[in-house]
């Protein structure tokens, strides 16, 4: 008999709005933090020791915040809102100051992607004002690096992910489009490397594991599509995982490359083994669509958490598969 389905370790309430995005920062010296972006435009900073919201940042008017992230090297928070702006916040020594903002011009829901190229600079990829356009700029100088536009009509950009391959090439970018296509771009060459039609419906989310050169993407259908990059940087579709209910809003791979979590429209968070995409658990707590999911970056593997944010205005935190092949 398999173990009964797990329960959340604790939940965070009080955001007062659906939680579109989650981001952990636990590796720093002081108490571990969780950042969340809500549909009312607030970025909450949760202290995971006291389990309270330490501070609330209101930087996007009351427009929905769709993405938050931090930089490893500098104490900087980046948040993206539906007001077509990306804001930078300084977090050093407990300060909260809006440093700068970038105008994206995108009316869509595409989350940005950030790639730190050196301790002082990083690349930011976001959807541009034109339908199929992706812009990449170098921060903090805001120098545009390139604009990537496919030669055929693919609809809006839905999701992007930047990464730098080990082979020493320039940074690459994966992008999912409205018609279900998945494109691999070479940022330095500004050329399209590969293209597959991964879904019949828009690509809602994707995640990519640069270590294994594998990724998955979700759509509003009942399956997850998995794919991998071969030596020539071609995307090869692999087998799908069929789900019970349709609709995936976000996917996340744990940093040790063992687990994949998906936030489903059916209120449930699903956990898969990342190697074979074998279903492992169904986390059922929320009473509305799960919108975001994130794994924490704790140094100690035993403390690692899984967080899920939902439209029911709550964040649930789970401790799952932390000891080696043992219970939660």
């Amino acid at each position: 008999m398999s173990r009964p389905a797990p329960c959340p370790v604790y939940t965070l309430r009080g955001a007062g709005a659906p939680l579109n995005t989650l981001h952990f920062r636990c590796s720093g010296g002081d108490s571990p933090l969780l950042f969340s972006g809500s549909a009312k435009g607030a970025v909450h900073i949760w202290n995971l020791k006291s389990r309270r919201a330490e501070r609330v940042l209101e930087g996007h008017g009351s427009n929905s915040v769709i993405w938050v992230s931090t930089l490893q090297t500098a104490d900087t928070l980046i948040s993206q809102g539906r007001d077509m702006r990306v804001c930078l916040w300084d977090l050093t020594e407990g300060r909260i100051e809006a440093l700068d903002s970038v105008w994206t011009g995108s009316v869509g829901f595409c989350q940005c992607s950030v790639l730190e190229t050196s301790p002082s600079s990083y690349l930011l990829a976001f959807a541009g004002p034109q339908t199929e356009e992706i812009k990449i700029i170098e921060m903090p100088s805001k120098n545009p690096v390139c604009t990537l536009t496919p030669d055929t009509k693919l609809g809006m950009v839905m999701c992007v992910q930047l990464w730098k391959p080990d082979s020493g090439l320039g940074p690459l970018l994966l992008a999912g489009y409205e018609d279900g296509s998945l494109l691999l771009w070479d940022v330095t060459q500004r050329s399209e490397l590969s293209r597959v039609k991964a879904h019949p419906e828009p690509v809602m989310c994707l995640t990519f594991d640069p270590g294994r050169l594998r990724g998955v993407s979700g759509s509003c259908e009942k399956k997850l599509s998995s794919w991998m990059l071969d030596g020539q940087n071609h995307i090869q579709l692999q087998d799908c995982v069929t789900l019970v209910n349709p609709g995936i809003s976000q996917l996340c791979v744990r940093s040790d490359g063992r687990l994949l979590a998906s936030a489903g429209w059916d209120h449930r968070v699903r956990v898969f083994g990342w190697k074979k995409l074998q279903p492992l658990a169904v986390l059922h707590y929320h009473t509305d669509m799960a919108l975001s999911v994130a794994f924490s970056d704790h140094q100690d593997p035993k403390q690692r958490l899984l967080a899920a944010g939902s439209k029911d205005q709550r964040i649930s935190l789970w401790s799952i598969y932390n000891q080696n092949a043992d219970t939660c």
Binding site: S2, A5, R258, G273, K275, V282, H284, A325
Partner: protein
């Protein structure tokens, strides 16, 4: 003159021998006499008698001689013969003479003698007579004789003796009969002797000698007529089939043989031959164009086997029709057969009044015949067939028996496909079963025609099969090993160290929530356009009704009405079952008002047949539920609600029970089962509400509902349901009144044309006999019982439907049991007197 002198001389000599046999005390005289007699039978060159003398002896003196010998069986000299002397002097007299006379005398003697050593000797001689092939000689002797003078009567007797030899010997020798005389041994022997005779005839014909086959044919006919066709033809047909393959003389002999079979035996010979012939090809080689020359054969093959009888296997049908189809001269007969069979198939009266097995048989014939037609013939017959198809389909589909409807559908499909009606094809939905598959397979010409040459050894074939099997096996053995080889690679990359959690809770998400209150449920059922809500309400309805009895009683009638009128708008899976379960629950919970409502609605206007049938089903199921002990239901429900507690309670009980058992000493084992707990019968008080209102209006035809007319399907169900109510009301006080009313009711429809109605009637009668107290049955209904009894006996014998017959027998048995019980019961008698 010379002839006369020879005859008198022979007579004198023979008389002398007889004298010495009967009176002489000296054994040497006897031996001399026997030798003299033997010499008349000896054809060899060293014989002491002339050919004329021998001929004379055989003709006139032989039978007398044998009779004298049989008469002297008790004489002293007979006993003193040594074994060698007997086989040299005595036996040859029986074995070498004309076989017909010998057989007659032997049979006569066997039937007359008392059990004795003499009889044993005769039986041994008879055995040797049969074993030494004398029967073939006998048959052959009749083939040569052009016109036997002593003909008719002698022949007739001889035939009778020959055919009945096993019977005669068995009657006489019963405990000590010889194995050779049993039918299983004798008839195959006779068959091979007939074949031997036929072989000789063939040889003679090749030599230009005329022969007559009449006697052999008569023998064959006689034996078959007596019911031994299987044994005889089982031996003859395969040999004939082989011989007639290439030999023209054999063919002619075989055809002639069948032609000479007497008319009254023709049928048994032909049917026997049909059953043992393995293909139509064989049959047509053996029988030739018999069907064209012999009226009787034509009648049997084109009419009797196909339309009047229905006991034969499909292979027989294939043989007959294939035979008719295989020759140009016979093809008109095939067309004629197809015409008559299609008429028989389409006949509405036949559909109603013949047994289903026969209809299946006729359908098979029709399909087979249609599949054998060429396209040109089909064009010619097209209008006839189409007419038959339309009429027949209608009468079949009108039938209330499922089997007959299916038959109509299958035949309709096959025929329409065969006729190719401008590309239009009939297509029905029916359940595939053994029968339909067989019917469908008839349309494809049989591929399993036995190969034309049975001689070659089948071994190489089987060896090849073995070989292929072996290779297949080896490949099967290989494949797992291959798999196991490939397995380790994938092991490196598995998630095996991550044990999955229980994921059974991961089910289709549903958008709406099931209703929690009965009134919400009703509301949703009445007005909702949301398919999800309706489905949930329907699913929840039964449990809501049962959980909250008081709320259910408030709205039971209204809810029943809603459910009865509900349509499956959203094609909810399991709609009918759910609706029915909810209605049954309502009826069980609040019986009186709901049954009043339902029984009134049953006879009212504007309901479809489906709804009326639904009403009956709901009532029947509810009655069944009520009549079951209620305690079971409650404990079951309790255990469903709190499985943990009830389990622990049970285990606690078991534990205590076990301890008591361990401490108790038992002298003898009684019944260990605890008696079933007593519970009140919830059905008995309300049985009348279920039953009587349904009897009320059956003979008032409405515009939409004519129970005694076209809606006999509902009538059948109604009577069946009433029978069920009656059956469930056993031991209820009201059972006597119900029984009387039910008997009255079914009396009017007992000769209904539809079999489902008759079945229902018989079921109802059965349940009356089962449930009514026998005392009430005998006293109140004694008049009717007598009539019912005669009617049941009539049905048991003559009804075309097998179910009806067996039900009638069942009822008769029940009635008799009731009578017996009543007669044995002294109380009952005193009351009656």
């Amino acid at each position: 003159m010379a002839l006369g002198s020879v005859s008198s001389e022979v007579r004198l000599k023979v008389a002398q021998c007889f004298r010495s046999l009967s009176s002489s005390a000296d054994h040497t005289d006897v031996f001399d006499a026997l030798e003299t007699l033997n010499s008349y039978l000896d054809d060899g060159a060293e014989s002491s008698s002339t050919a004329a003398e021998r001929e004379e002896f055989r003709r006139t003196q032989y039978t007398r001689t044998l009779r004298v010998l049989v008469g002297q069986l008790q004489a002293h000299w007979t006993h003193s013969l040594s074994a060698a002397q007997r086989s040299k002097l005595w036996d040859p007299l029986f074995l070498k003479g004309p076989p017909d006379q010998a057989l007659l005398v032997l049979m006569e003697a066997v039937t007359q003698l008392r059990p004795s050593a003499g009889l044993d000797r005769l039986v041994s001689v008879t055995e040797r007579f049969l074993q030494s092939g004398r029967l073939a000689d006998l048959l052959w002797s009749f083939c040569l004789r052009s016109v036997p003078p002593d003909s008719a009567q002698l022949r007739e007797t001889l035939l009778a003796r020959l055919a009945a030899l096993p019977d005669l010997t068995a009657n006489r020798l019963h405990p000590n009969n010889r194995p050779l005389f049993t039918p299983q041994r004798f008839y195959p022997l006779l068959a091979s002797e007939m074949l031997a005779a036929l072989e000789r005839i063939c040889r003679a014909l090749r030599d230009g000698v005329d022969c007559s086959l009449t006697f052999v044919a008569q023998t064959l006919g006689k034996v078959c007529l007596q019911g031994h066709s299987g044994l005889v033809l089982g031996v003859m047909a395969p040999r004939l089939a082989v011989c007639t393959r290439s030999d023209v003389v054999w063919q002619r002999v075989s055809w002639r043989l069948l032609q000479d079979v007497p008319e009254r035996c023709m049928e048994s010979v032909l049917t026997g031959l049909l059953q043992v012939a393995d293909s139509s090809d064989t049959f047509s080689r053996i029988a030739g164009n018999l069907v064209l020359t012999n009226k009787k054969a034509q009648f049997v093959l084109t009419h009797k086997v196909l339309l009047l009888q229905y006991k034969y296997e499909t292979q027989v049908l294939r043989t007959v029709l294939g035979y008719l189809a295989s020759d140009r001269d016979r093809r008109p007969l095939l067309i004629q057969v197809l015409r008559s069979v299609s008429q028989a198939w389409a006949n509405p009266s036949a559909v109603k009044h013949t047994p289903q097995e026969q209809q299946l048989y006729v359908s098979k014939t029709l399909l087979l015949a249609a599949s054998l037609l060429t396209d040109a013939e089909l064009q010619e017959l097209r209008s006839d067939l189409l007419q038959c198809l339309l009429d027949g389909m209608q009468s079949h589909l009108d039938s209330s028996a499922v089997g007959i409807r299916t038959l109509g559908m299958v035949v309709g499909e096959c025929l329409s496909a065969r006729m190719d009606l401008n590309g239009a094809k009939l297509k029905f939905e029916y359940d595939q079963n053994e029968e339909t598959r067989e019917l469908l397979s008839l349309m494809t010409p049989s591929v399993c025609d036995p190969d034309p040459d049975p001689e070659p050894d089948p071994h190489p074939d089987s060896e090849a099969a073995d070989g292929s099997e072996a290779t297949r096996e080896s490949s099967q053995v290989k494949s797992p090993s291959q798999r196991s080889k490939s397995d380790p690679d994938s092991d490196l990359d598995s998630d095996d160290d991550l044990p999955p959690y229980d994921m059974s809770g991961d089910v289709e998400a549903s958008r709406a929530a099931p209703p929690r209150y009965l009134r919400d449920c009703l509301e949703a059922l009445i007005s909702s356009d949301d398919s999800q809500r309706v489905e949930f309400s329907l699913r929840a309805a039964e449990s809501l009704v049962r959980r909250n009895v008081f709320a259910a009683k408030e709205i039971s009638v209204q809810m029943t009405k809603v459910l009865l009128h509900m349509e499956d708008k959203f094609s909810v899976s399991g709609f009918l079952v759910l609706r029915q379960a909810a209605m049954v629950a309502l009826t069980a919970v609040d019986s009186v008002p709901v049954t009043q409502f339902l029984t009134t609605e049953f006879y009212s206007l504007n309901y479809s047949l489906r709804q009326r049938l639904d009403i009956l089903e709901v009532l029947a199921l509810a009655a069944q539920e009520l009549s079951k002990p209620a305690a079971d239901k409650i404990t079951a429900a309790a255990s469903e609600l709190t499985p943990y507690q009830s389990n622990s309670a049970a285990s606690w009980r078991q534990e205590v029970e076990k301890r008591i058992q361990n401490k108790t000493k038992r002298i003898s084992k009684g019944s260990a089962q605890p008696g079933a707990g007593a519970a009140p019968n919830r059905y008995a008080p309300v049985a009348g509400y279920f039953f009587f209102p349904l009897l009320r209006n059956y003979d008032k035809p409405e515009v939409t509902f004519d129970l005694l007319g076209s809606d006999h399907l509902v009538l059948g169900r109604l009577i069946h349901t009433l029978g069920l109510f009656m059956h469930l009301a056993v031991n209820a006080p009201i059972a006597a009144q119900m029984g009387a009313a039910l008997l009255d009711f079914v009396w009017a429809v007992r000769y209904h044309a539809d079999q489902t109605v008759r079945r229902g009637v018989l079921f109802a009668i059965c349940s009356v006999f089962l449930s009514m107290p026998s005392q009430a049955l005998m006293m109140d209904l004694s008049q009717q019982l007598m009539e019912t009894r005669t009617w049941l006996a009539d049905v048991a014998e003559a009804d075309p439907d097998a179910d009806c017959r067996s039900l009638a027998v069942q009822s008769l048995v029940l009635l008799d049991q009731n009578l017996k019980k009543q007669l044995q019961n002294p109380n009952g008698l005193s009351v009656e007197s």
